[in-house]
């Protein structure tokens, strides 16, 4: 029996390591071109005409889902969104069955956001189409790392030897993990900064410098990436209060003074104003937070183009 699995010769994007450095450079080049498209009157190219992309989101997400949706539509693909609230997930269907049912409708790519690490990787083994990891637990968020790379690359021209600090809840952050992998691939020097309770045990395996002092983390940095802190972590006993967290780990204008004068401030969003980032810093001249969002669409267009543009060899 001919199955969709047999025909599938495409590929997946589950983690940064699925891409070579050359491919990432190609994605950057392509994303810049798609950024141009997004700035035109007609923000659309016919590249993925006739392709179907399903956004399967098991966690609430505005930014990533919308970003993938716009990216797909600007490539002329048909994009369908399925979120837990409107699917059979709430009726108790297993993840496998949901993926197989979507796969049976023959999409060309499924973008999966899931709270469980490895869920997209498992889906990739059964879906018979490209699977793109839209964020899985604390494991990986490769398209976020790629759009962050683009944002840095656009401003700095190169990532090599840049000093980058990632500040916040490293333990639970897929954004941190994917960014560390991508930044290290291009020779950046990465420091992570968090209270010890928000760093993974075995953090040395990540190949980064570690500090618990935000001034030390920010000093002489070219790029400072802030991560969102969730109040849920407080209930887990990982820190006593938002006020105390903020006192030690908030990026304020004062703390920022020790960074390089041309420092770039990034945040994957949504930001907690006054908690991990001071309002004036978030809105300040160094902030690239909205630029990241713009690049999100362009980079996801590049990723969809790479994965869905031509599956038959």
């Amino acid at each position: 029996m001919e199955t969709v699995e047999k025909k599938f010769r495409g590929r997946h994007l589950l983690q940064i390591a699925d891409l070579t450095a050359d491919e990432i450079m190609g994605l950057l080049n392509t994303a810049y071109k798609f950024k141009d498209v997004s700035e035109r009157e007609i923000k659309k190219v016919p590249t993925l005409r006739g392709k179907t992309i399903v956004n399967l989101f098991y966690e609430p997400s505005t930014r990533t889902r919308t970003s993938f949706e716009i990216a797909g539509k600007r490539l002329s693909a048909d994009v369908i969104n399925i979120s837990t609230s409107s699917s059979s997930v709430t009726k108790g269907e297993t993840f496998k069955d949901t993926v197989l049912n979507i796969a049976a409708m023959r999409p060309d790519a499924i973008v999966i956001r899931h709270g469980s690490p490895g869920a997209p990787a498992y889906a990739a083994t059964i879906a018979g189409c490209s699977v793109i990891n839209g964020g899985d637990g604390a494991n990986a968020h490769p398209t976020q790392a790629l759009l962050d790379l683009m944002t840095i690359h656009e401003k700095k021209g190169s990532v090599e030897n840049l000093k980058v600090a990632i500040v916040g809840d490293i333990l639970h952050s897929r954004v941190a993990r994917s960014n560390i992998n991508a930044l290290k691939m291009f020779g950046a020097d990465v420091t992570v900064c968090a209270p010890p309770t928000l760093l993974p045990h075995g953090v040395n395996a990540l190949g980064v410098k570690v500090t618990h002092n935000i001034r030390e983390a920010v000093a002489d940095k070219d790029v400072v990436m802030m991560l969102r802190i969730q109040t849920e972590r407080m209930q887990q006993g990982l820190f006593p209060s938002l006020r105390e967290y903020s006192e030690h780990f908030c990026l304020s204008a004062k703390v920022l003074k020790s960074a390089r004068p041309d420092v770039l401030i990034m945040h994957p969003g949504p930001i907690n104003r006054g908690v991990e980032i001071a309002s004036d810093v978030a809105d300040g001249p160094y902030s690239l937070i909205l630029s990241q969002v713009t690049h999100g669409v362009a980079m996801r267009m590049a990723v969809l183009y790479l994965l869905c543009g031509g599956a038959e060899s």
Binding site: E23, G26, K33, V45, P46, T47, G310, E312, S313
Partner: protein, 180 residues
């Protein structure tokens, strides 16, 4: 398997051919201020630049000249797969109502020109689109006819036509190589 390359345009012939094409463009478009040249990436871009220079010599008019990338408009993405080396479409002038002349090195099946027309239409609405090619080797698969042809060269389908330009390849030379 190395087949002999047959020269179809020498550097000298290429220069003369381009000059003639520039003249034809000015003849067909009395008001050169309405022209925008769009070179199709890669080799259409320096060719468009050269035509603009020659038009300037003939008429004194500075014709705007840009580059057009057709990567995302190709109809063979499915078979050839994605290409991450797309060039940058850069046509800074408003093309609405203007005469946009597409410039390419070799016209073959016509599919690239179809893609280029679509790409142009997504940027704006030119009054008319014309097509200038250095070489027309035949074998059209779409109803596309150039307005300006440098040289018609009869080829077999399997043969390869190679255009080298000093800007991109260090020399001006057009050759035909027998297919392997």
């Amino acid at each position: 398997m190395t087949a002999a390359a047959k020269t179809v345009l020498s550097a000298l012939e290429m220069g003369r051919t381009m000059a003639r094409m520039a003249h034809e463009i000015t003849e067909k478009n009395p008001d050169c201020s309405q022209i925008i040249l769009a070179g199709i990436i890669t080799r259409g871009v320096p060719l468009a630049r050269r035509l603009a220079d020659k038009i300037k010599t003939i008429t004194g008019v500075d014709v705007p000249c840009g580059s057009l990338d057709i990567t995302f408009y190709r109809d063979d993405i499915q078979s050839k797969g994605p290409d991450l080396n797309a060039g940058r479409t850069d046509i800074s002038h408003d093309i609405n109502g203007k005469t946009l002349i597409l410039v390419d090195d070799v016209l073959f099946t016509g599919r690239s020109i179809r893609a280029a027309i679509d790409a142009v239409m997504d940027i704006g609405r030119p009054g008319r689109i014309q097509l200038a090619v250095l070489l027309d080797r035949g074998h059209r698969e779409l109803p596309i006819r150039p307005d300006y042809i440098g040289k018609n060269i009869p080829t077999a389908r399997g043969e390869r036509v190679r255009v080298k330009l000093s800007e991109t390849d260090g020399e001006d030379l057009a050759t035909v190589v027998e297919g392997a």
